[in-house]
Amino acid sequence: MDPIRRCVTQLSRLPGIGEKTAQRLTWWLLRAPDDLVRELAESLAELKAAVKECSQCHTIAAADPCPICADARRDRAMICVVERPQDISAVERSGEYHGLYHVLHGAISPLDGVGPEQLRLRSLIQRAGEVTEVIVATDPDVEGDATALYIARALKPAGVKVSRLAHGVAVGTEIEYADRVSLMRALENRRVL
C-alpha cells in the first residue's frame, strides 16, 4: 500500500479523527522534522510494549504493581473503585484519599454487552476480603449507579463496608447558582446533621 495512504487510513481509525483530519495530519507529518516524527513513532511503539495492566488494581501503568499499589505509605484498608484508569488521577487530585484503587474498566451495561464478567469484578471481590471499606466512585448515571449497587450486593457476604461517593453541588458553588440536576442529586444524597 502507498505509505501516505496507509498513514491516512491508520490515523482515521483514531476516535474523533475523520478522513480529512487524517489527511491534514499526514501531510503535516511529511513536512515535520525527521526526529519529531521518529520520536512520535517510537513513543507509539513503546506505549503498548512498556505499559501494562497492574495485576492488583488493574490500572494501566509502566510497572506492575503500579506506583500506587507499590507505595508502602498508602492505606491498605481502603479501596476506591473507579470505572477508568484516568478516574484515579481525578480522585488523587483531591489529596484527601490515601487508600488503594480498583479499576473496573467499564460499568455494567447490557445494551453494550457489558456484564459483570466483562469487568474486573471477581478480583475486587477477592481483594475486598482484605480491606475494611470499599468506596464506589463509578459515574452518577444509570450504568454507574447499577454497578455500584451490584458491588454492594456482591460484597455483602464479605462483611466489608461499602460506600458510594456522594454526588451533588460542587464545592464553592453557591446554592443559588447550582444547576438543577446537581441540586437534585445533592438533595437525594442529603445527610442528617
Binding site: 455494567i108 451495561s109 447490557p110 445494551l111 456484564g115 459483570p116 464478567e117 448515571d141 444509570v142 450504568e143 449507579d145 447499577a146 449497587l149 451490584y150 450486593r153 456482591a154 444547576d179 438543577r180 440536576v181 437534585m184
Partner: protein
C-alpha cells in the same frame, strides 16, 4: 417571554428567511404545503432543539443540504438573548449568545414553547403511550429538570430490556437494575401525579372556556398506586418481584409505570371511546393550554404555537379560543389558511407564506 425575530436557513423548505415576530399574535397564512408550519416548527426547534413533526434531524434539513440553522432574538422582560441551533443529519448544537451552555437545561431555560397541531387529537383518541408522552412533555415545559427523571427511568428500562433479551441473564444484574428501576419509576410516577394535580384546575378552566359544555375529568392512574414516592417504590419492588419469573420467560419487562394511564373523562365516560370529534379536539386543546398554564404557575413563560387554527374548531369555538388567548399574557404564533382567523385582534403581525418565503401583509 417574546420571540422578537426568527431566522431560518436551509430548514425544511425555508432557504433563507428572516422575519420580525415582535407582536402578541404572529400569523403565517397561505395555501397548504407552502411552508407555514415549517416556520412554526423552526420556532419549536429553537425552543426544544427538535421539531414537532420530524422524528429525525435529516427531515429538518432542506432537500440536498447537510446543515441547517435556526436563530432568534428572545426577550424575557428584562434582557435580550440570541438563541441559535445548528442542525446536521446526526447532531444539534444550541447556543445562547454565541456560547454553548454547559448544561442543556440552561439552554431550555431561555425559551419554552407549547405546540398544538391537528394531530394532537391523538393524545385523547389513541393509546395511553401518547398521553404519557404528553405528560412528560408537559412536566418538561414546567421544569426542565424533569428531563433527568424521565431519562433515568428510560435508561434503566432500556438496560433491563437488553439484559432480559440475553441468553442467560445474570440474576444479580437483574436484581440491581430492578432496584434502580424501582427508585426511578417511583419518582417518575410521583412526579407525573403531582403534575396532573397541577394541570387539573387549568384543564377544567380552559375546557370550560373553549367548549363551555360537559363535565370533564382528568386523573393519573399509576400501576404504583397513589402513595408517596417511598410507597410507590415499595409497590414497584413487589410488582417486580412477582413478575420476575414471567419476565425471564417472556424476556421483556412487564409491569410498571410504563403502563400508567392518564384518564380523561367526559360526563363520567371515557373520552377516548365516547368523545365526538369536536369534543376530542376541545379536550386535546384544553390539555395543551393547561400545560401552558401549569408552566406559567411555575414561573416559565412559554410561547404558544398553534398549527392550522381554522381546521381545528368550528367558527364559534375558534372565536372563543382567540378571545381566551388574547386574555392571557402570552405570545401566540399561528398558522392558518384563513388570513382573517384572528379577527380584529390588535397587535398582530401577518405574513403570507408562498414557496417557503413569508411576505408581510
Amino acid at each position: 417571554m417574546r420571540l422578537l425575530t426568527l431566522c431560518a436557513q436551509d430548514f425544511r423548505n425555508l432557504e433563507r428567511v428572516e422575519v420580525s415576530t415582535d407582536a402578541r399574535f404572529v400569523m403565517f397564512t397561505g395555501e397548504n404545503a407552502q411552508g407555514k408550519t415549517n416556520l412554526l416548527e423552526a420556532v419549536h426547534t429553537l425552543a426544544a432543539l427538535k421539531g414537532f413533526r420530524a422524528r429525525r434531524n435529516r427531515e429538518l434539513l432542506r432537500h440536498g443540504q447537510d446543515a441547517a440553522k435556526v436563530s432568534g432574538l428572545v426577550f424575557d422582560g428584562e434582557s435580550r438573548r440570541q438563541l441559535s441551533v445548528e442542525l446536521s443529519p446526526t447532531g444539534r448544537k444550541g447556543r445562547v449568545d454565541g456560547k454553548s451552555p454547559a448544561q442543556l437545561e440552561e439552554y431550555f431555560a431561555s425559551l419554552r414553547a407549547v405546540v398544538f397541531t391537528p394531530e394532537d387529537v391523538a393524545i385523547v383518541r389513541e393509546g395511553p403511550e401518547l398521553r404519557r408522552r404528553f405528560l412528560d412533555r408537559a412536566a418538561f415545559t414546567a421544569r426542565a429538570g424533569f428531563l433527568e427523571i424521565a431519562q433515568a427511568f428510560r435508561g434503566a428500562m432500556e438496560q433491563k430490556s437488553a439484559l432480559l433479551r440475553q441468553e442467560r441473564p445474570d440474576r444479580l444484574s437483574l436484581e440491581v437494575f430492578n432496584e434502580r428501576l424501582a427508585i426511578a419509576g417511583a419518582r417518575l410516577s410521583a412526579r407525573r401525579d403531582r403534575l396532573v394535580a397541577e394541570l387539573h384546575e387549568p384543564f377544567l378552566q380552559m375546557h370550560g372556556a373553549i367548549s363551555g359544555r360537559g363535565k370533564v375529568g382528568l386523573r393519573y392512574v399509576s400501576r404504583l398506586g397513589d402513595g408517596d414516592e417511598a410507597a410507590r417504590a415499595e409497590r414497584f419492588r413487589s410488582l417486580l418481584g412477582e413478575n420476575l419469573n414471567a419476565e425471564l420467560e417472556r424476556r421483556a419487562p412487564l409491569d410498571g409505570p410504563q403502563r400508567d394511564e392518564l384518564e380523561l373523562t367526559l360526563d363520567g365516560r371515557s373520552a377516548r371511546t365516547w368523545g365526538s370529534q369536536g369534543q376530542v379536539r376541545s379536550l386535546a386543546l384544553a390539555l395543551k393550554l393547561a400545560e401552558l398554564s401549569a408552566a406559567r404557575r411555575r414561573g416559565a413563560r412559554p410561547l404558544f404555537l398553534l398549527d392550522d387554527l381554522s381546521s381545528e374548531l368550528d367558527r364559534l369555538r375558534t372565536g372563543r379560543l382567540v378571545d381566551l388567548l388574547a386574555s392571557l399574557d402570552l405570545q401566540v404564533l399561528v398558522t392558518s389558511t384563513d388570513p382573517n382567523v384572528l379577527g380584529d385582534q390588535p397587535e398582530q403581525l401577518r405574513y403570507a407564506v408562498e414557496a417557503g418565503v413569508p411576505r408581510l401583509l
